[in-house]
Symmetry: none
Subunit: 525 residues, 2 copies
């Protein structure tokens, strides 16, 4: 469990999900939570149970499906409604019943918002805070409070804003997070307000948005002014210009301010985690993102190339390895012989220096075409076997394939695929029907091979992801397809890239089947 | 001409162009310079004449082709080489002959860089600075000095770093810009070093990179510490994580700090200028960019929609009109009636309470099936027209369509689509070939309709996004397709959802064409 003295509090699954175009399924949210836990954050805000059926389901499934090592889950929700008891408010009940060890209550701290948005009195708002915090505390949950619009509220009515903090703290809230909800603050004035709030003696946190391009700096300024709880989102996701980028905040505090926030080896995995999360959110990764972007340590060296070779630290603000990034990462996430050798060893292969050099070159070349091996372990292993063992062994070869998708007059859409393969000396023609072109291709391949390789019956396609890599020429863009497959004992992922989505899917499918047969003990011809 | 007391100095054309993937022709640079001048910046650094033939040509053409209203051009270059006279150095001559009224000389201020990269002595480096500044001043140019690696240099050898400033100022440099070349500084320590440098009495400037996510805040901290010259790049372009975003810096200083940097009406054109520059650079606009991004004032939270209607300023840190941007409401599963009504009003429709209730129900129902309207404004508008006006008017109806994707034996993949449509009383059968199934469908539809609707020739598919919504049944998952289309005057997005990716694409395509025809003034039958 993470140290309680300084909180790294992630709100990607709640506030980050407010980003335009970002829509996460419950399965996506569980996956992102696992990645965040791997980074070592202390708290993961999972959503608003009760207000949103998807979030209710997230907390229900989290109880059995999430096995967190560092983080604790927090359920987000509002204080009770005006004029009802906290115990009788169904939304408060949903927080109580979420099973989350922590509840983060959002409360108004701006007088005008109390009147306009809540449509109640300033006194009743304080009672709502007091009652809801006390009630949840009495029921055994830890309570944090998000003081919404705190900084604008402080400008409007400083005494009331401070009274909100005092009320929540006295009722038993452990942390009062000061929220720059509209994101308009600059670091110096923000720090002044945090110092004023510190006079309440409550434990304070900070929640910033990037509307002035200062979310990270505002967070650092608040830490300098005494807060011991920082909120933010993976990759800076969030509404409008986004929330404070939690990865940048953690790296700045840990590498430049001496804070000990996450395990050193987890920080060294931050770049991979940041990219793995973009695969789930399907948001194009920001290549310029500080610390973890693919361009973050990329140099158009030119003039200084020789000096960089002599002393790279003269040209880098940190050693990129500390965050799992690389100075030579221009084209490749795997670039560098060391990481390829490490990955090979992990898979049980010993690579000669010649092999690893060749493999690095092939990886770089393929990644520059749009392939990604970070999320396609099986494709990487097939490439590695190719490099070590000469030509890849094959269980089958493809003569041709064809897919027809049709919506006939007055009928439903049908998909049909035909493959012509050669395997174990036979030529096989088989056809499959499916509910989409890739499903039809998958069925046709099984139909063709299952008699020769009965193990294929156990192989299942469990996930299929599509990413358009160059979105500037419409449907002529390059398409990357990732397929995840499983059998009784595990799962593996493969990748295909082509301007044609069906060809890209076919590549990933062919590798998925090949790898499945290798797992089943068939070495191929 | 801009006021000389505080300099807004743009380096997009020089340092911004170091961004990976950014390549500007001379014509591009001239266009960007015109846009920057339209914004009212004081200085535009055009490049390094002499070191780069393209930049030499830029300055040559600028003399006759650029008619700047506010800005002055600055030529960037290095101090003379070690051991030669400034007057005899051909690179210094190129600066002199550039015709630029200002020369910005880059000089080493970090002792180790002098030794390692310049391979000369600390004393000779000072002489190089002194001679080059004096020479150019004597020849009639104004001189600024970029003190490269100043902050790291100050840490390494503070006395020498300060001596560089003094030497340049005494030789006649008007401004010494302190450069955080590696971008590793945080605002508080940066401000401390600026204060130390201010002791030299020289006029100081600041040049920041965003490697800690603090470039904007670092620039503001330096201004607070007394600098009167800020450097940055349009849209935050630049190497690695980019340079300080000049647009964010200017908006922060002018709207939140009371500086009078650019004309008020030019600031109100900033959003358009920012996007016009992305058209030239061909870099995808960052929708989350502070102030000018399309999402910068976009609100998703359904909860607050009713309060936003009453007083939008409670939810915005500035009036978006001040930077030429707009508040937008996103329709999402959090949406209530208030946000649907707001969105309707934004689109120019007045909804009856009955209409908005019905529309909210339809949106909720469709979103629960996987549709998303926040990123598909045109699909939302078509749905709204349906709801308000009864059945949607149609320009064409579909009898059937068929797509064939095939990799024949020994050949390349081919895609072919056939559509059978009815329009204006005719039955039309048309076939299109493409580099993928959706491209082929798009071509077939145009082929079918272009004779009846010649405006379709102007319609272009510019982006295509695919998202698999439930990744637990492999290729049987639900697929969501978003298509962005454009014509001469704007762009719009449409959405399709189906378990079959081709059917989902077809839905989005059909709506894209329908909406395009509505835009062209065809109301349909």
């Amino acid at each position: 469990m993470a140290d309680d003295r300084f909180h790294v509090y992630d709100t990607t699954l709640r506030d980050g999900a407010q980003q335009e175009g970002l829509n996460l399924t419950v399965a996506d949210k569980l996956t992102v939570a696992r990645h965040l836990d791997g980074l070592g954050v202390g708290f993961i805000e999972g959503g608003w149970p009760g207000a949103n059926p998807k979030d209710t389901e997230f907390f229900r499934r989290a109880r059995t499906e999430l096995d967190l090592k560092h983080a604790q889950l927090a359920a987000f929700g509002a204080t009770r409604r005006a004029g009802v008891k906290a115990a009788d408010d169904p939304l408060v009940a949903a927080l109580r019943e979420s099973g989350a060890p922590v509840v983060t209550l959002v409360a108004k701290s701006h007088d005008r918002h109390v009147e306009l948005a809540l449509r109640t009195t300033l006194t009743e708002n304080l009672a709502m805070i007091r009652d809801t915090v006390s009630h949840l505390r009495a029921e055994g949950q830890r309570v944090f409070l998000d003081a919404e619009h705190f900084f604008d509220g402080y400008k409007s009515n400083p005494a009331y804003a401070l009274e909100v903090i005092r009320t929540a703290a006295e009722a038993g809230a452990d942390v009062i997070a000061l929220c720059d909800t509209n994101g308009g603050m600059l670091p110096d004035e923000l720090a002044d307000v945090v110092l004023a709030a510190a006079g309440t003696q409550a434990r304070l946190g900070i929640h910033c948005h990037d509307d002035t391009g200062c979310a990270v700096a505002n967070t650092l300024a608040a830490v300098r002014a005494g807060v011991t709880h920082v909120q933010g989102c993976a990759n800076g996701y969030g509404e409008r210009s986004g929330n404070a980028n939690l990865f940048t905040v953690v790296a700045n505090l840990q590498l430049k301010r001496g804070f000990d926030l996450v395990p050193r080896e987890a920080l060294a995995d931050m770049t991979r985690i940041a990219h793995a999360i973009t695969e789930v959110t399907n948001v194009t990764p920001n290549s310029h993102q500080p610390y973890v972007g693919v361009s973050a340590f990329a140099h158009k060296a030119g003039l200084h190339a020789s000096a960089i070779k002599v002393d790279p630290n003269l040209y880098q603000h940190i050693d990129p390895a500390e965050v799992g990034n690389d100075m030579r990462m221009l084209v490749s996430d795997m670039a560098g012989r060391a990481s390829v050798e490490l990955k090979g060893r992990e898979l049980g292969y010993t690579l000669s220096p010649q092999d690893s050099r060749e493999l690095v070159e092939r990886v770089k070349d393929l990644e520059s075409q749009g392939y990604t091996f970070e999320a396609a372990d099986a494709s990487f292993e097939l490439l590695l076997r190719d490099t070590v063992g000469g030509d890849r062994r094959r269980h089958f070869s493809v003569e041709s394939w064809r897919v027809i998708v049709e919506r006939p007059a007055g009928g439903d859409v049908v998909s049909e695929a035909t493959v012509k393969l050669h395997a174990k000396g036979e030529r096989i023609v088989a056809t499959g029907e499916g509910n989409g072109p890739v499903n039809a291709l998958d069925k046709a391949v099984r139909q063709a091979l299952e008699r020769l390789y009965p193990e294929l019956a156990r192989l299942e396609l469990t996930d299929f992801k599509v990413r358009i890599l160059e979105g500037t020429h419409g449907t002529q863009a390059i398409t990357r397809v990732l397929i995840t497959s499983s059998d009784d004992t595990g799962e593996w992922s493969t990748v295909g890239v082509d301007e044609n989505i069906i060809e890209a899917s076919w590549q990933a499918l062919e590798q998925a089947v090949t790898y499945g047969l290798l797992r089943a003990g068939h070495e191929g011809d």
